[in-house]
C-alpha cells in the first residue's frame, strides 16, 4: 500500500516554467500539504475521431526531477483531466496505454449528456467542472447518487474563486447544487492555483466549507479523508486485480475492537520481534502488473488523523 499523508491537493496545474512550479511546490510544503497531484488537461473533443485504436492521450509530463527534489517532503502524483463532449471517449480510454501512467483520471464534461456519462460509466475517479462556464451544467440527483455509489468524487476548485468574484458565485452555486442534490457527499477541495498566491492553507480550505454549503466535518474530510479514499480508488483502478502482501508491523492482536494507533506505538517497542507476514489474496486472476509488494498498514485506519 502506498502511503500518503494528509493534507492533499489534487489539482496543481502543470506549468512549463520550472521556476513557477518550484515556487508553487515550495509554498505547498510550507502550508502543510503532503500529497499533491500535478494536473494536465487534455481536450478530447478537439481531436479528430478518425484514428481509432491509436494513442490519443499524451504522455505524462516529466516531473522526475521535482519528485527527486521534494522527495520526502511532498509526494507528487500525476493527474490528467479529460475534457470531452460525448461518450466516444470511453473507447479511446480503454485502449490507451498512456492513461495508465497517470495516478488520477478526472473527467470534465462539457455537455449534459457527457456529465451523466461521467457520473455513471466513466472509467475515472473524479468529476470536475470548468469554473468559467461551469454553472450551466448541473448534475441531477440520479446521476449524483450513482456516482457516489461508484465511489467517484466531485471536485471543487477554490483557486478561481480567489481570482474572480464571478467565478466565486458560480463555485458557490455549483457547490450548493451538490448539497441540494445529494447532501454534498464525496466532495474534495483542490486549489487549481495558477501561481503560489492562490494557494491557501489546508485549514483555511476546510473553512471554506461554510460558504460551499458543507458541514464542518465534510469540509475537513474534503481535504483529508476523501482524498485518501480517492487515491486508493484510483490505485485500485490502475492496478486492476493484484496480489497484495500484507505485512504486520507488530504481533497480530486478535481482538474485536480495532485499535487504530497500535501499529505506530508498537513499532518501537517490538523491534526485536520477528515480523509476521501473511499473504492475502485479493482475487485469483492477476492481470498485468502483479506482485505489488506493499507494506500495509490497514488502509483506512490511518485516516483518522488530524
Amino acid at each position: 500500500m502506498e502511503q500518503t499523508r494528509p493534507f492533499y491537493d489534487f489539482c496543481i496545474p502543470f506549468n512549463k516554467d520550472d521556476k513557477v512550479m518550484r515556487a508553487l511546490l515550495n509554498e505547498l510544503v510550507e502550508l502543510g500539504y503532503k500529497t499533491i497531484a500535478i494536473d494536465q488537461s487534455f481536450d478530447h473533443s478537439r481531436k479528430e475521431a478518425g484514428k481509432r485504436g491509436s494513442e490519443m492521450f499524451p504522455e505524462p509530463h516529466k516531473v522526475e526531477h521535482l519528485r527527486k527534489e521534494f522527495g520526502d517532503k511532498l509526494r507528487i502524483l500525476q493527474r490528467i483531466t479529460i475534457l470531452y463532449v460525448d461518450v466516444n471517449v470511453a473507447h479511446a480510454m480503454s485502449v490507451s496505454l498512456n492513461l495508465r501512467k497517470f495516478n488520477l483520471i478526472a473527467g470534465q464534461p462539457k455537455t449534459d449528456a457527457a456529465l451523466t456519462h461521467c457520473c455513471t460509466t466513466f472509467n475515472g475517479d473524479l468529476v470536475t467542472f470548468d469554473p468559467a462556464a461551469g454553472s450551466r451544467l448541473m448534475v441531477n440527483r440520479k446521476a449524483y447518487q450513482v456516482a457516489v455509489r461508484r465511489g467517484m468524487f466531485f471536485e471543487i476548485k477554490y483557486g478561481p474563486a480567489i481570482a474572480d468574484s464571478n467565478n466565486r458565485k458560480d463555485m458557490i452555486k455549483v457547490a450548493h447544487n451538490y448539497g441540494i442534490k445529494g447532501k454534498s457527499r464525496n466532495i474534495i477541495f483542490s486549489s487549481g492555483a495558477e501561481h503560489q498566491f492562490q494557494l491557501r492553507g489546508p485549514y483555511d480550505v476546510a473553512n471554506l466549507a461554510f460558504i460551499f454549503g458543507l458541514s464542518e466535518d465534510q469540509g475537513k474530510n474534503a481535504v483529508d479523508r476523501h482524498c485518501r479514499q480517492l487515491f486508493l480508488r484510483a490505485e485500485s483502478r490502475r492496478l486492476g486485480k493484484t496480489i497484495m502482501f500484507v505485512k504486520g508491523g507488530g504481533p497480530i492482536v486478535f481482538s474485536d475492537s480495532s485499535d487504530d494507533n497500535q501499529g505506530d506505538s508498537q513499532d518501537d517497542e517490538m523491534e526485536g520481534c520477528p515480523k509476521e507476514e501473511e499473504l492475502d489474496e485479493e482475487s485469483d486472476g492477476a492481470n498485468g502488473e502483479n506482485n505489488e509488494e506493499e507494506e500495509n498498514k490497514p488502509a483506512n485506519k490511518r485516516l483518522k488523523t488530524a
Partner: protein, 145 residues
C-alpha cells in the same frame, strides 16, 4: 424519493405614485431581486439563492407576484424585501403577503386576496363589459412563466 423543498413568497408591490397598471415583467423583477441580494448578502447569498430562484407569477393589475426559491435560503430573500425601494425604474416597496411551502397554498391565498380586491374595484365601474374585462385580467393565472 426526496423532495426538493421550496418556498413560495407572495408579495404585493406598492408603488409610491399610485398607478392602475404596473409595467413590470418577471425578468426585471428577478434581476432587481438578485441585484439586491448580492448587495446585502454578497456573492455567498447570491450563489446560495440563485439556483431555483424564479418569479413564478406577476399580475400587473393587482401588483401581486409570487417568488419561488429554495428552502435553504428563503430567509435571505424575505429579509431583503423590506429594504428594496426601487424595482426596475419604479419607486416602490414590497409588502410580503404570504410565505408558503407549496404553490397551491399560495394560489389559494392569492385568490382570496384578489377577490377582496375585485370587490373593491367592481363598485367603481359602471358598464358590464368593463367589469368582465377587469375580472378576466385580475383572475388570470399565468403559471408557466
Amino acid at each position: 424519493m426526496v423532495r426538493i423543498k421550496n418556498r413560495y413568497i407572495a408579495v404585493q408591490i406598492v408603488p409610491y405614485a399610485p398607478t392602475k397598471v404596473l409595467y413590470l415583467n418577471d425578468n426585471t423583477l428577478t434581476k432587481c431581486l438578485l441585484r439586491n441580494i448580492e448587495k446585502y448578502y454578497g456573492v455567498y447569498g447570491l450563489g446560495m439563492i440563485e439556483q431555483g430562484f424564479r418569479v413564478k407569477y406577476i399580475n400587473e393589475r393587482t401588483k401581486i407576484a409570487i417568488i419561488r426559491c429554495m428552502h435553504a435560503g428563503h430567509r435571505f430573500v424575505s429579509s431583503i424585501l423590506p429594504l428594496i425601494t426601487l424595482i426596475g425604474d419604479v419607486r416602490a416597496k414590497f409588502r410580503t403577503l404570504y410565505i408558503g411551502a407549496t404553490i397551491i397554498q399560495c394560489n389559494k391565498f392569492i385568490i382570496k386576496h384578489q377577490k377582496k380586491f375585485l370587490d373593491r374595484e367592481m363598485g367603481q365601474l359602471t358598464s358590464a363589459k368593463e367589469r368582465q374585462d377587469l375580472f378576466k385580467r385580475v383572475m388570470e393565472f399565468d403559471m408557466d412563466r
